[in-house]
């Protein structure tokens, strides 16, 4: 890079404004507004070894200058002036009838002392006015400090591809500069890239480069090289991981007659020891970081800084007509790699292949441009429709995060097409489908099978239960008919109760003996029937003994004994009252109940 000193004069505000331009652009040219001239100071190197020569050039250019004095170079610390009289060169150019004269004064110096120094402002008189340049910093180095930096012997001329981003994410733009290094004494007359530079995994776009590469001085491993950026490419990684840029092949025309001041000055020149060589840069590996998907929103694979807009070409359309949904994405970044946002569109539309237009500007160090997607929608039915709001995400590599742009909902109306009211279909017939209006027969949609419902199993269990009951009854009746003992046992209680009822019926009819005889008959008959004993011929003692064995209940046995004894001895007792008879019948009935209960189990 050439350091320049600027013209300083406290003259007019307007002049100061004009000074800002060269400062920003780095050319170092000073424009004299009133006198139409430029003043430029340059130093040949800004890093110089002790004992090395260097030059400071003061260039005055303009069309209306009349008197220009020799520049007055003050003492420069750390360096010695080889000659107090500068060499002078003048060039005259005539463009469109306008003559411009440029005079360059060159002072030769030698570096003497190690350190950081400054070229002080240089004064010069132009048309009677004194102007000064800005100070220019420079550094003087000792050769021994840098000689053992790497230990690698660099060739006299070599090429490098230098990416400006170390760890990009997929889609992020990086600038790969093709930089040529060559030693002092080599002059580059021409260069021509060869085919074969592979950039697998990258989308590549050549940037519009400056016409004339500028060389600057650098020191590599203690050796002074000239460094010139020849070409620049914008590269966009398409995936994550380690991606390799292959060696860049380049044909270079060189001349080994050094022109210290302008190595590219002989592009169109000839003569000297000229030859043509082919060189290739070392492959470069780029580690591309993975990029997570956005948390929300539509991902369109955009990385950079963008603005996104969406619109419809009309708000009312007829069925069958085409409606255009236009999305415009504008900004800096991977414009060509951006995908179409997949909007959620309402049903009932025929969608045709979207149109895509891309406009890319490659000026400067970034890719700018506009990408437009035009989606063609053809509505099939009238109605009011709305394309819902959409949130689109793009990745901002500077902020290292996703940014979101919300596209508002778009509403439009579709009118029926004139003359298309009926459902018709060319030659395949027509049908007037009329909806069913009025009352509908509703039913509940059921996912349950019939057999999974409760009432199915209730209905199924009823006949099963009926079968079981019927079988039991059938068996019971069969036994009643075939098994006499069982029949006696089953009918014992009923028979006993009937006999007791007979006894109850004759109470108060002066048939006391008969009453007690019936009670005994009821009790004894019940015991005999239940225990399958002979119906007649059993003594009371035998009956009581059987009851005791069958029940094991001493109280009950005793009650039976007492009642049987009472029935047997009633002939010798005083005539009993009716109440006593009824009480005894009740008592007998209680005994029967208890016996029935115990003998059942």
């Amino acid at each position: 890079m050439i350091k320049t000193g600027n013209f300083i004069s406290a003259f007019s505000y307007r002049l100061l404004v004009l000074l800002i331009l060269p400062l920003l652009s780095g050319t170092g040219i000073v424009y004299g507004q009133d006198n139409d001239f430029t003043l430029e100071a340059t130093i040949s190197e800004n890093k110089i070894f002790i004992g090395e020569q260097f030059t400071i050039s003061i260039e005055v250019g303009g069309s209306t200058m009349r008197g220009v004095s020799l520049p007055r170079l003050p003492d420069i610390q750390g360096a010695g002036l080889l000659s107090s009289t500068p060499s002078r060169s003048t060039s005259v150019t005539i463009v469109n009838g306008r003559t411009t004269t440029s005079t360059t004064y060159t002072f030769s110096l030698v570096a003497r002392e190690k350190g950081n120094f400054t070229v002080p402002p240089v004064s010069i008189d132009i048309d009677g006015e004194t102007y000064q340049t800005n100070p220019i910093p420079f550094e003087i180095l000792e050769r021994s400090d840098l000689s053992a930096e790497d230990g690698r012997q660099q060739p006299d001329i070599f090429l490098e591809v230098e990416p400006d981003v170390n760890r990009p994410v997929p889609g992020q733009q990086m600038v790969a500069s093709l930089v040529l290094y060559f030693k002092q004494g080599i002059e580059i007359t021409s260069f021509q890239p060869s085919s074969g530079w592979r950039t697998d995994g990258f989308w590549k776009e050549e940037l519009e480069n400056v016409r004339q590469p500028q060389a600057e001085s650098v020191i590599l491993n203690g050796v002074r090289y000239r460094r010139a950026t020849l070409l620049r490419y914008a590269l966009f990684p398409s995936r994550s991981g380690e991606l390799t840029l292959s060696g860049f092949p380049l044909n270079v025309g060189i001349r080994t007659q050094p022109s210290r001041n302008d190595p590219f000055g002989s592009f169109f020149g000839s003569g000297g020891n000229q030859r043509r060589i082919s060189i290739e840069s070392e492959p470069v590996t780029v580690n591309v970081r993975p990029l997570d998907s956005p948390d929300s929103g539509l991902s369109i694979n955009a990385v950079g800084d963008f603005s996104i807009e969406r619109r419809l070409n009309r708000s009312t359309v007829e069925t069958g007509e085409t409606l255009e949904l236009i999305t415009t994405i504008e900004g800096t970044g991977n414009i060509p790699l951006i995908r179409r946002p997949e909007y959620r569109l309402p049903d009932g539309f025929d969608l045709y292949t979207p149109q895509e237009t891309t406009n890319i500007q490659r000026r400067g160090l970034s890719i700018r441009g506009t990408k437009t997607y035009t989606e063609l929608l053809v509505p099939r039915a009238p109605g009011r429709f709305s394309i819902p709001e959409a949130r689109v995400a793009y990745y901002d590599p500077n902020a290292s995060r996703y940014r979101y742009i919300t596209l508002p909902a778009l509403s439009f109306r579709v009118e029926p097409s004139t003359g298309s009211a009926a459902i018709a279909d060319g030659g395949r017939g027509t049908l007037d489908l009329q909806p069913v209006l009025g009352l509908a027969v509703w039913q509940r949609a059921s996912s349950k099978s019939f057999y999974q419902k409760t009432y199915f199993w209730i209905l199924l269990s009823i006949p099963v239960i009926a079968f079981l009951i019927g079988l039991r009854q059938k068996k019971y009746h069969g036994r009643l008919q075939s098994d006499r003992s069982f029949a006696r046992s089953e009918g014992a209680y009923k028979t006993a109760l009937e006999r007791l009822q007979s006894a109850r019926d004759i109470v108060g009819k002066d048939q006391v003996k008969e009453c007690y005889n019936l009670q005994r008959h009821a009790l004894a008959g019940f015991i005999a029937d239940k225990l399958s004993l002979p119906e007649a011929g059993l003594s009371d003692k035998e009956l009581i003994e059987n009851v005791r064995e069958a029940t094991g209940d001493r109280d009950l046995t005793r009650s039976v004994h007492l009642m049987l004894e009472k029935c047997a001895t009633i002939s010798y007792a005083p005539i009993a009252e009716s109440e006593d008879q009824l009480a005894d019948i009740e008592k007998t009935e209680q005994i029967l109940k208890e016996l029935n209960k115990q003998l059942r189990s």
């Binding site: 049903d347 039915a381 009011r384 039913q443 006949p463 009926a466 019927g470």
Partner: protein
């Protein structure tokens, strides 16, 4: 017990109101339909269906809208459902014929085996519910006859034989009902609703291609076989080929 009775009582009391609610919404949708507001009408129809109510008119009207919107696959899907209801059977058949004629591609149809045809008839025309009801009638009649014959002496043999025959018939009807219900649960009807969809040999987009199903193709969907694969269904095409298809490509009922 109380807690289970209360919701049942409420349901019984509110049933007419709920049905009325469906009818009111149905009328509203019909009005929108008459105003050519197809999508709004469709939204209401879908709400009714999602609430668990269905009717022939509902499916038929939805099919009508989709026919108008030129979504013939969807139209066929709804007309096929509408055909299941007596009140719209004729109209649905007519509409289906019309819709089928408008499809650009039609599948070759392999005739069904008599066995399949018989059970398809039972499934489509009779249904497992009716078979179960008939089976119960015979079961009750047979049980009554058999039990009665045990206790009656007069004509007991005739009654017993009749009861036995009825029980045998009941058993056959139960078997048919269960099998029909199994078929209904296992095999569903699917209709392709996208322009075209590839049928694969395996539930994998990279698997071998069996065939291509086009809009309006009717498929027999095996719910049991496809239950293990998410987003995929195992289907039998009308031409007898089997394969796997994406769920999103069809509607199933």
């Amino acid at each position: 017990m109380k807690s289970s009775i209360l919701p049942v009582l409420l349901l019984i009391l509110l049933s007419p109101a709920l049905a009325f609610s469906q009818q009111a919404r149905f009328d509203e949708a019909n009005f929108l339909l008459s105003q050519n507001e197809y999508y709004q009408a469709l939204d209401i129809y879908k709400t009714i269906a999602s609430d668990g109510f269905e009717s022939g008119a509902l499916w038929y009207n939805m099919g009508t809208i989709y026919t108008t919107l030129d979504s013939l696959g969807m139209a066929k899907y709804y007309f096929l459902q509408s055909r299941e209801f007596d009140e719209t059977k004729n109209e649905a058949n007519e509409a289906l014929q019309y819709v089928n004629e408008r499809f650009d591609r039609r599948s070759a149809v392999l005739p069904q085996l008599p066995w399949d045809r018989f059970f398809n008839y039972l499934t489509d025309r009779v249904g497992p519910e009716l078979l179960f009801i008939l089976a119960f009638i015979f079961l009750y009649g047979g049980s009554t006859g058999l039990i009665t014959s045990w206790f009656l002496t007069a004509r007991s043999k005739w009654i017993r034989n009749t009861g036995f025959i009825m029980l045998v018939l009941s058993g056959l009807l139960f078997s048919a009902a269960f099998y029909t219900d199994y078929l209904e649960g296992r095999y569903l009807t699917g209709v392709i609703i996208v322009d075209e969809q590839t049928v694969y040999q395996q539930p994998d987009m990279n698997a071998a291609v069996i065939s291509t199903a086009y809009e309006g193709y009717t498929l027999r969907v095996d719910a049991y076989e496809g239950a293990t694969e998410e987003d995929w269904s195992y289907v039998r095409l009308e031409n007898g080929m089997f394969g796997w298809i994406r769920d999103s490509a069809m509607e199933v009922f």
